[in-house]
Symmetry: C2
Subunit: 560 residues, 2 copies
């Protein structure tokens, strides 16, 4: 495999890109419908996503088993599957999330796929892209500045009790030192001292709002609905009370438009929005998905980390909110992750170990069951790694056959769309046969505790749910604010089906603990937080940033 | 004047813009040399600014008398002058700074000119533009995250003494609550607690570096040279010790390229870089100015606030560093600012008051003298306001004649380039006659105190300079680091020729006080700080943000 030894960025930089005009032309879009950002990126107009103005294509969700810390290549599979669908003659698009700079400078790297299954221009997408994250950050932080300015205000004070303000500032950076801080120090002229902190931008409620908004008016309404805290008289204060929503929406005027790019094989792709599925709803924007559904016959989209996190939220929140009806779910599985679930340590994953693999299959089993809870058809994609053996693949294929699930080994990383043709055929056939509607797991009108418990017991496999005293208080607050009808977006570790990162495979008989319940009334969901989820990551001992460089010609190295 | 009652944004939104391709064509640039950002903005390639690769046009600096808090319309004059030069048949460009979001949401508004002398697209330029500020912010904050990560590091610690770290984070926002804070709270896993804060992005040393860099390699070298603090053994630590410069430069790969836009009259303009001249060197980038000089016969550029701040720095730092040789200096004066210097309060400025006006002329006199200190020819542009009387204009014109200075009333705000033709004729004639080189005020090799004292006594008019104990300590540090050969970029109030905001007119016999001396070894200057300069503004009681809105069609209102 001489091709495979090249790094992702080498492959990306050697690729001959098409002008974004030509990519748009494949979708029947003219030059006047594009707002180019350089020669290879463009914003698409909002008009393409006007509700009920087009016939939707088939929506295909790519999710995964519970991943190892390195990730199982969901994005690579999504891009490859789309290239594969195009190769077998389907008009297909892939619609994905944007990368966050935190992982780019930290450990995990970018989010443009890998090997011969990548989106381009790789460097641009991983560094600022079209400025969407920066705009979201600014809108979030404008609201924070307006809050602190009101606390300081003599004549226009809303009597907001600063101790009740949960709104934090955000930065698209892994910066643990900003998690908890005391601001407003220095005396009378420098604000009101209070404890607050920064989250990473992907965790901002503004990101969630952008991802769930139907259009500009809906975006502005949601921005105004953001709950900020209580007055000293315990009256709720929202962003609209600060007249913040107009300026915030103006800051988002370009960020709300989907971004058109291309794959290595020259197929159109949309990348838009970038929340994390462990702490937010985790998928690209409703506007982007709808744009894709209006432009193509098949739309491949992704929700991670595992199906228990991203898949559940995609189906119970995003699809419900937007009126999408997905037709098939691809579950990405890897030999190494299954061995990991079977008890093998990270360093030993490349070594063949059929026994551990068999043990680890219980995680795949549970995620297949989870897909079926929604009355959807799972298809397993085995994302091939160079260290895999054919015997190991056969163990997984046999298990899928036993469970009545179609499965294919996919080699898009090494071979691009050609390596995903078998999977593409399976997926297209499943999507074409799909007639019934999928069934969400719960009714938004159920009680908050019922909603949490349905997800925890049926999807995560918990025996029961416990609530910390703070969480019970939060539930009272939710009731007081009349927000019990919102869906729940549970924050949970991505490393386990349970809320305990150390529990691999298929944990049973565990008690899920809800520590607190955050209110995201603008986004339109509640966030029950389990375990020790952090919304601002830290950098590792050796940050990837140290290896990133640019030469005198502007050529970048060290991104992956 | 029915035209004049329209707001700036109304005028801007009614304008018919040309495609940026067509604007570029006026400069002889082809489509392949542009990186479009939408239809009306584009990045220009760095190759256009390669040193010594072209014949330079004539460089014209627009500066001003000491302004009132509302500003005297320097940007409006610069844009109008350029439109005027184009009207009289000259191949001219205007090269300006980018707006900061702080003033946009605060009080002062954007930075695209006003009336019929504006740059377009006004909303885009004032909101994110092409993402340059966001990239600078990110590069600045990546360095901060790497510093705090190193403080937290077990195995790769540089033994940096966190108490010596002056590097702050930045945000493009007026947010006083972030001026002083304690970060790293929460325990072992959440960083090392220390006192720090945020500056506004325009005040970042990264902004200064971007503005002074010759090219990409020079940018990277300067980034690596940023001084961060001392180890516990009192060894200096620089950004290169954290291997930060490569990733920072990669983050700036697009921000380093100049932005091409257009004026209301369809003339090409470049806008790039955005430092404040009260706390940084205050002018657009060297790369942008050089690009302009290579593309046009005349380049109009701006340095504010007053000539004492922006003009001095432009000539002693930027032109020296880049090898530019300006040919003329336009001093913008307004009737209202001169009356303000004559003792009239802000609310009464519209009322005719010849006596106060005459008294206030001493500020203009001093700024004219200041221009002549550099062996340059001043031209006075009287920026006409609707409340001005002809008699008031005549008082100023007579004074200029007395001083041997050419002057013109300019009406670009009301009439566009047509209102600036007389000024354009004067400026073109002066620039065409310019043969001698300008003379900087000091030699970089003089001692730091000599350099400070030359500027303070000769330009500001101080009787002497005093140093606070902290400043003397800082000067020791400068010596220890071997940085005495750097030029000085004095931070001083923009509201007075002196370092005391309340002193109007032409203050004499005052003592300028240097409170501290900051080191910007990457930018390549020292920052003696006088008075109470703050690098992070606050929002007013009624922030402009409250009036900014966007409608369902994406049309923005409330920007100015």
């Amino acid at each position: 495999m001489p091709k495979a030894v090249q790094s992702d960025i080498d492959i990306a930089q050697k690729a001959k890109m098409h002008h974004i005009r030509d990519i748009a032309a494949k979708l029947g879009l003219g030059d006047d419908q594009l707002e180019p950002y350089g020669k290879y990126k463009a914003k698409l107009p909002l008009a393409l996503a006007e509700k009920d103005q087009c016939k939707y294509g088939k929506l295909i969700l790519v999710s995964a088993i519970t991943p190892t810390p390195a990730g199982e290549g969901k994005t690579t599979v999504s891009i490859g599957l789309n290239d594969g669908l195009n190769r077998i003659g389907k008009k297909s698009m892939v619609v994905l999330r944007e990368p966050s700079l935190g992982p780019v400078f930290g450990i995990k790297g970018g989010a443009t796929g890998g090997g011969y299954s990548q989106l381009l221009p790789m460097e641009d997408i991983n560094l600022h892209f079209t400025g969407d994250f920066a705009a979201i950050e600014k809108a979030n932080n404008l609201l924070a500045a307006l809050i602190d300015n009101n606390l300081q205000s003599k004549n226009r004070s809303l009597n907001l009790d600063g101790r009740t303000v949960a709104w934090k500032r955000v930065m698209d950076m892994n910066d643990r030192s900003l998690r908890r801080l005391v601001c407003g120090l220095g005396g009378l002229a420098h604000g009101v001292p209070r404890e607050t902190g920064f989250d990473i931008t992907a965790a901002s409620e503004i990101m969630a709002i952008l991802c769930l908004a139907d259009d500009l008016p809906d975006l502005k309404r949601r921005l105004g609905d953001i709950f900020l805290g209580f007055t000293f008289a315990r009256e709720p204060i929202h962003a609209r009370d600060l007249n913040a929503q107009g300026a915030m929406a103006a800051l988002l005027k370009e960020a709300v438009k989907p971004n058109l790019i291309q794959s290595l094989e020259g197929n159109p792709a949309i990348m838009h929005g970038g929340p994390f599925a462990n702490i937010a709803q985790g998928t690209n924007t409703v506007i982007a998905t709808r744009t894709g559904l209006c432009l193509a016959d098949y739309v491949v989209t992704e929700a991670g980390f595992g199906f228990d996190l991203g898949g559940e939220k995609f189906l119970d929140i995003k699809c419900q909110s937007a009126g999408f009806d997905p037709c098939a779910v691809v579950l990405v599985a890897t030999v190494r992750a299954l061995k990991y679930h079977g008890g093998v340590e990270l360093a030993h994953l490349p070594v063949p170990n059929a026994k551990a693999l068999s043990r680890g299959l219980e995680n795949l089993t549970k995620q297949i069951e989870n897909v079926r809870l929604f009355h959807l058809t799972p298809i397993v994609a085995i994302n091939r790694f160079a260290t895999d053996t054919d015997e190991e693949h056969q163990v997984i294929l046999d298990h899928c056959q036993f469970m009545g699930v179609q499965a294919a080994v996919m080699e898009a990383w090494e071979k691009g769309g050609e390596g995903a043709e078998e999977l593409a055929e399976l997926v297209a056939a499943t999507a074409d046969q799909c007639t019934a509607h999928y069934k969400p797991l719960y009714d938004w009108n159920q009680s908050v505790r019922e909603k949490i418990e349905i997800i925890a017991t049926r999807v995560y496999g918990a025996a029961s749910v416990e609530y910390a005293p703070g969480a019970l208080k939060d539930l009272e607050k939710v009731k007081q604010l009349g927000l019990e009808g919102l869906p729940v977006c549970i924050a949970k570790t991505q490393s386990s089906l349970s809320d305990q990162p150390g529990l691999r495979g298929r944990p049973r008989d565990f008690v899920a603990t809800v520590r607190e319940v955050e209110i995201a009334s603008g986004a339109g969901f509640l966030v029950p937080i389990t375990g020790n989820m952090m919304r601002m990551p830290g950098l590792p001992e050796v940050p990837s940033a140290e290896k990133i460089d640019i030469d005198e010609k502007g050529v970048i190295s060290g991104l992956f």
